[in-house]
Subunit: 227 residues, 2 copies
DNA sequence: CGGACTGTTGACGTCATTCAAGATAAGTGG
DNA sequence: CCACTTATCTTGAATGACGTCAACAGTCCG
């Protein structure tokens, strides 16, 4: 059960970034490490949620399965936690977690986490903070998917990746396009077409490199206009 | 600033259901009451979020505005809180809150809430619990809207309203249909048609009364089938 | 050089929105 | 209480956006 992780590595997670040495020791003593390969499943919807995960390296996607589609709730990167709400609430996973490329995660059993929250107010406050952030993020995600159409969704996503200064800039897509497409609630084909629609607005895309000629040109799509 | 509310009334909210008398007094002393009429706006997206709301009577819808549509994030009923994540996180509302019919709400200023969370671990844990619930709810809502098509969405929603035993039952829609439609991410026209599509599956609707002949008949729509 | 994978493009179908009109219900004033 | 007005809901037909299917072009690796 002892995880071969150092204090510094756990400190790199949001939740434990300011934890005391005692807390870190407690986490390390009670947890285990997991390594997963690309497309490997960490858990499936409906299974009992008996531990919380912290991504140390790589990325994990959380998605819901429908009849034949699936909806990506979030793509979790290094430092972030997941499955926390399921552990604290229902005890059952509502989504499925799948590795996006090889990854390393810290797995903290439910009793350890609930103990920490209960005994350390600082941790409890961190959890609150973290949940508040996730609620905001879900809300944003929801807005994008329900209120925008495909081209606009992509533009919004790309603008989120790009630095906030005006003028030309280059962005590297963090995942393969088909994952981005699903994350944005569309088919890969639609992403492709959306990319094409943005070309007249000063966007070029070669492989995973995307070049934005001018932020404002893209942002102008949102004012009242159509793509 | 003193709210004309009794202890018992505040105890009816999720967050303060088990609060000590001291906490209740602190809340009452620091808060104010708000009464709003139908369609009245409590706050708009982008405004500073300087207080948390607790619905005592009536309902409030939280929605996001898009170019010309709007997406309902949730409909908050008596006992529930809203704007909490915005207060704790960004300090700005990301959604708009609008009364659905006349309602009474308790308005607790940000410093009061943050103070309570900071000084009372029991409150902090309640907040965590509440956020975990909301995350689950958002996830469900998301699933419905992204993964189901209109007829199925309505069926799912109605099944959620109906009691869990098999056989015939009658349900009264909690809101007007056009609000339910928006909540389910569709136009009122689509809701109407979806209702029609469910008729062959043993569903009748007169005004706001809905009669489900057999739960199983509706649930069978989800297995692999089509409406 | 082949084979598998990822991304692109076109033609077509489906589902939901949109627009317009009508029907039912609810609220208002005489 | 009834005529009248105003919401709310339903229905139909047309448009449009996205998904689906199928074929093809790059790209990555052995």
């Amino acid at each position: 059960m002892v995880a071969p992780v150092g204090h510094e590595e756990i400190r790199r997670t949001e939740l434990f970034s300011e934890a005391t040495v005692e807390i870190l020791d407690e986490v390390i003593a009670g947890s285990s490490m997991g390594t997963y390969g690309n497309r490997q499943c960490l858990y499936r919807a409906g299974q009992p949620a008996d531990r919380v995960f912290f991504v140390l390296e790589g990325e994990v996607q959380i998605y819901l399965r429908g009849n034949r589609k699936h909806a990506v709730l979030s793509i979790v990167g290094a430092g972030e936690a997941f499955a926390l709400s399921a552990v604290l609430e229902t005890g059952r996973h509502m989504g499925t977690a799948e590795a996006v490329g090889p990854c390393r995660v810290l797995e903290v059993p439910a009793p350890v986490i609930t103990g920490l929250i209960h005994r350390h107010p600082a941790i409890a406050e961190k959890v609150i903070h973290l949940f508040a952030l996730r609620l905001q993020a879900m809300s944003d995600h929801f807005e994008r998917i329900q209120l925008m159409q495909t081209t606009q969704r992509l533009a919004d996503y790309l603008l989120g990746l790009a630095p906030d200064r005006p003028g030309k800039c280059e962005v590297v897509l963090p995942f393969e396009k088909s994952l981005i497409a699903t994350y944005l609630g569309m088919e890969p084909e639609s992403l492709s077409r959306a990319m094409k629609n943005l070309r007249p607005h000063g966007l070029t895309c070669v492989g995973r490199k995307v070049c934005i000629e001018d932020r404002n040109a893209l942002e102008s799509l949102f004012a009242e206009g159509r793509a």
